[in-house]
Each structure stands twice: as structure tokens, then as C-alpha cells.
Amino acid sequence: MPAEDFAPINSEWLEKAGNLWTTPFVDKPSERVIVDPILLSHAAALFKKTPKYFWENPDEAARMVCQACELYDITPVGHYLWADYWGQDYGAEIKIQETSPPAITKYPIKEPEDIDKFEVKSPEELKEGPTFKDHFKALDTVLEEYPQMFAPITQLAGPMEVATNWAGIEDVFMWMITEPEIVDKLIVKATEHMVNACKVTAEKYGANVMITGSVVASGDLLEREQIKRFSYEPQCKAVKNVLKAGAGPGIYYHLCGNHTNSFDMWKDAPMSPFTVVQVGNDGKNVFPSSKLVEHFGDRCTCFGVVDTKLIDRGTPRQVYDQTAEQLQAGKDSPRGFIIGSSCECPTYAPPANVHAMVKAAKDYGKYEKF
């Protein structure tokens, strides 16, 4: 769908949504908490397109996301990304799938011996590589057609996530036990890659918001000490180096999955004035906003969450109730609060459930602190 196929965005809505979005970062008073359901291919479903179509057409994907922001009255930012970024730049083969995001089918690192020979691409090489080609196609579309909805995002997740897009996750997890030193080496390379990628975005757009955090390295799969060694510590170094390279100022710590055994470590992770922390689950439950604010509220902006599974499979009433509860516990967090989904909005989640989150924000998300 080219640009002319879409109805124009209402400028009054955009201004109001922009103000709601700004509040958590600069404490500028507005009416209520903004909702960010991390919309990606769900936007395509609203336009009767498939996930395959969404990821094969980054420019159209960006347009659909921007349009969906108005439709739902949510964070006015055009996103385009998927989890298995950066494999292709290093020779991985990916498969564009009909109903889910692109996935890596062949990894560039097959044996532990491959790690020593593995060379991290320079910013110049990454800039011309396949990942940034699509990523920038989407971002440039937002910048040109929806300039007020533009954010210079670099999708990384943490070093463990980058590493497991270079080598299969089963292999990396096995090497963690059999040859942990080789995994340390791999992780160092992943952190170098993170810095180089952020430099490219910052150079192109003058600023950068790095999406980092921990998805693979969660409490369901790893012990606290493993998370510390292979994810938290190298990631802290990477974030500092990204900032030192002038590729800030935005940092978004996306701690997806169960982080009961490690979330507290991130309180001391390097922060910039525009830092957001989001934690998905506390054991099997959604991570309570009260706990998030208790630990991070006096540090940075808190991103409270509604369980993605509930958004996908629950009733609108269940989504509404959980959103209301999370909002009431977090909305007046001293350094700002956002309510969203614990991870990407599922492609075929009922639109009524996404709407239920926004409805709850309107009913229960009004600020009292201003």
C-alpha cells in the first residue's frame, strides 16, 4: 500500500498523543498515561495483510504501524523490527514466514572454532548490510511521511540475543556449560557489534535510541550468575561504549520473559537521562507495576506491562482489568510511566483487546501528580 492509499493522520490527535508520549521523559504535564502495545505485524492484520507482507515491505509496514497508532490512540511512533536481527549481515540465511516474523535457518557460527575467526563488521559495513537496509527503509519512510512519529531506533536486544542470531541457541547454551570461555569471546564480539550498529544510526539521524535488554537471558533458561556473566555485565559495557561513542541518548532496557532471579541487577545498569526499563514477567505472572516502581521508580522511566498472552487470548474485560490494576500501581511513578504489552503485540490479537488497554488508560491512567 503506497502512501496515497492511506487516510491522512489527524493533526489534533497527533499533537495530543505526542504530548502524552513526551510526559514520561520530560515531566511535562499531560492528561494521562500513554499506551504502547509494541505494535508491529499486528498493524498489518488491521489492514488485512500478513506478517510475511509486513516484513517484506518495510516502508509499507512503517505506514501501517503509524496509521494503527492513530486508530488505537497509542504511542505515536513508527516501528519496524524483528527479533532475529543481524544474522544476515554475517552470512545467516533467513526464512520469511507466512504467519510469524522472519527466522534464521542457517547460522554463520556452527562450531566453537568459528568464534575466533568471526569478525565483527565495521559501522561502514553494517550501514550497507541487509539488516539496516530494511530497517532504514522503514525509518526513512516514517521520517519523510510521518516526521512527528519518527524515533531513531536501533534494535539490538542484548549481547546474548545478538550471539544467538549468529550461532544457534542450543549450541550457545551447550557451550555455556562445556566451554564457557568461548561464549565469553562470542559475547565480547556481540557487544562490539552493538556499539557499531548504534554508531550507524546515530550518524545517520543525529541521535539513537538503543533497544537493549534481555530476552534469551531470562530466569526460565539461565541462573542468575549466568545472566550476570553472559548478559548483564557485557551489556553494561556495551551501553557505556555506545554512549561514549556519542550514540545516545535513548536507552530502552527490554527485559522480556521471567526475570524474578535477576531484575534487581539492572538497577545499576548504565543510564542516560532518557532511560526506560520494562520487565515482562515475575515467575509465571505479569511483572507487577508496584514492584517495578519500587525498584526503578526513583531511577528512570518505568514501562509497566500487560501480559502479552492475555492480550492474545484473554477477553477484553480481562485485559481492561489487568491494565487498570497495573496503571493504578504505576501511573505516578516519579520519573514517568508508560503502560504497554510485555512484548510485541501478537499479530492476531483481537483489536478489541488492544482497545481495552487504551480504554483502561483513559479510565484509570489520569495523572494525579501534576
Binding site: T22, F25, V26, D27, K28, A207, C236, K237, K240, L243, K244, G246, G248, P249, M265, K267, D268, P270, M271, S272, P273, F274, T275, D298, R299, C300, R335
Partner: protein, 170 residues
């Protein structure tokens, strides 16, 4: 310290020779700083001992702050005097440890020593305030006396943040 030694130290400081190359002079100009300000920062630091020294002893970092601006002089010893290597400033005001206290155990050691305390400095988040907004920034901190410094490489991040705050809050 006896009086003679003190007088000799003070006179040394006041007769201090501080070299500023043309390149550094241009940098100061770009950063809106004056040579005299930098000279005062260095003199005050040498007099009080309140400064960071790099672990290899080659460089010192000193600062002076008022309500609106914190200025830094990065300098080194040169032929009995000093040479200014860089000067920078930020408007966000450091107010204390993010979260109320520094977690020294969890922090990375910085490449600097607090000269006054003879203590290894650490890298930690500090709260910074500007235009009514308080948020964290990553700084170099003495865990003993709590002195906080912004490393030169973090300046773009903080400048970027100041620009956004000015646009949104100004």
C-alpha cells in the same frame, strides 16, 4: 605543613604556567568557555587537591560548578607547569547518587583516582537536574567523598539530553 612550605606551594600555584594550544583554544571557543575560567579551575584544583588523576598519572580532571553550569578542565603536567588538553561543560546539575546511594560493589572501576581521598573512582549513575527535570546520567564518582565528574566521552549524551529538555520544557 609548615608555613614556609605552604607559602611555597601557594606561590607555585599562583605563578602557575598553563599552556593552551591553538587547537584547545578553538575547542574552548566552540564550547563557550574562556581560557581564564579553565586556568582558575586548574589553579583551584591544584591548591585544594580536589581532582581526579588518571591511574597512569598522566592526566588530571578538575571541575568548577555554579547553579547553571559545570565546567571541566582536563589537563596534564608539562615542563614544571600545566597544559590544558580539553575543556567542556554541561548545564544539567549533578545532585547525588541515582537511587539514593552508590552500589560500589556492583560498579565498574573507573580509570581515575580521587586525588583528595587517594581512592579508586567508580562509574555510576548520578541524578542530574535541568529545567525542573531530574534523570540519571553515567558519571565518574569517588565512593569515599562522593565527588562526581562527567567524563568527556559522556558529554554528547548529556548535551543531547539538554537539547531535548530545552525543546520540550523551554
Amino acid at each position: 605543613m609548615d608555613i614556609k612550605k605552604l607559602i611555597s606551594k601557594i606561590s607555585k600555584v599562583y605563578s602557575m604556567d598553563i599552556k593552551i594550544s591553538e587547537e584547545v583554544a578553538n575547542l574552548l571557543k566552540d564550547n563557550g568557555l574562556k581560557a581564564e575560567e579553565m586556568e582558575k579551575v586548574i589553579k583551584d584544583a591544584e591548591e585544594s587537591g580536589k581532582k581526579l588523576e588518571s591511574k597512569d598519572g598522566s592526566k588530571c580532571l578538575a571541575k568548577a560548578e555554579d547553579d547553571n553550569l559545570t565546567c571541566y578542565a582536563l589537563y596534564s603536567a608539562s615542563n614544571g607547569g600545566f597544559s590544558l588538553d580539553s575543556g567542556y561543560a554541561h548545564k544539567m546539575k549533578m545532585v547525588g547518587p541515582t537511587g539514593g546511594e552508590f552500589n560500589v560493589e556492583a560498579a565498574d572501576e573507573a580509570d581515575w583516582i580521587c586525588k583528595k581521598c587517594n581512592e579508586n573512582a567508580i562509574e555510576a549513575n548520578v541524578d542530574m537536574t535541568y529545567l525542573g527535570v531530574t534523570r540519571p546520567g553515567n558519571a565518574i564518582v569517588c565512593p569515599k567523598c562522593g565527588d562526581m565528574y562527567l567524563g568527556e566521552d559522556m558529554v554528547p549524551t548529556i548535551k543531547g539530553a539538554e537539547g531535548i529538555l530545552e525543546e520540550k520544557r523551554g
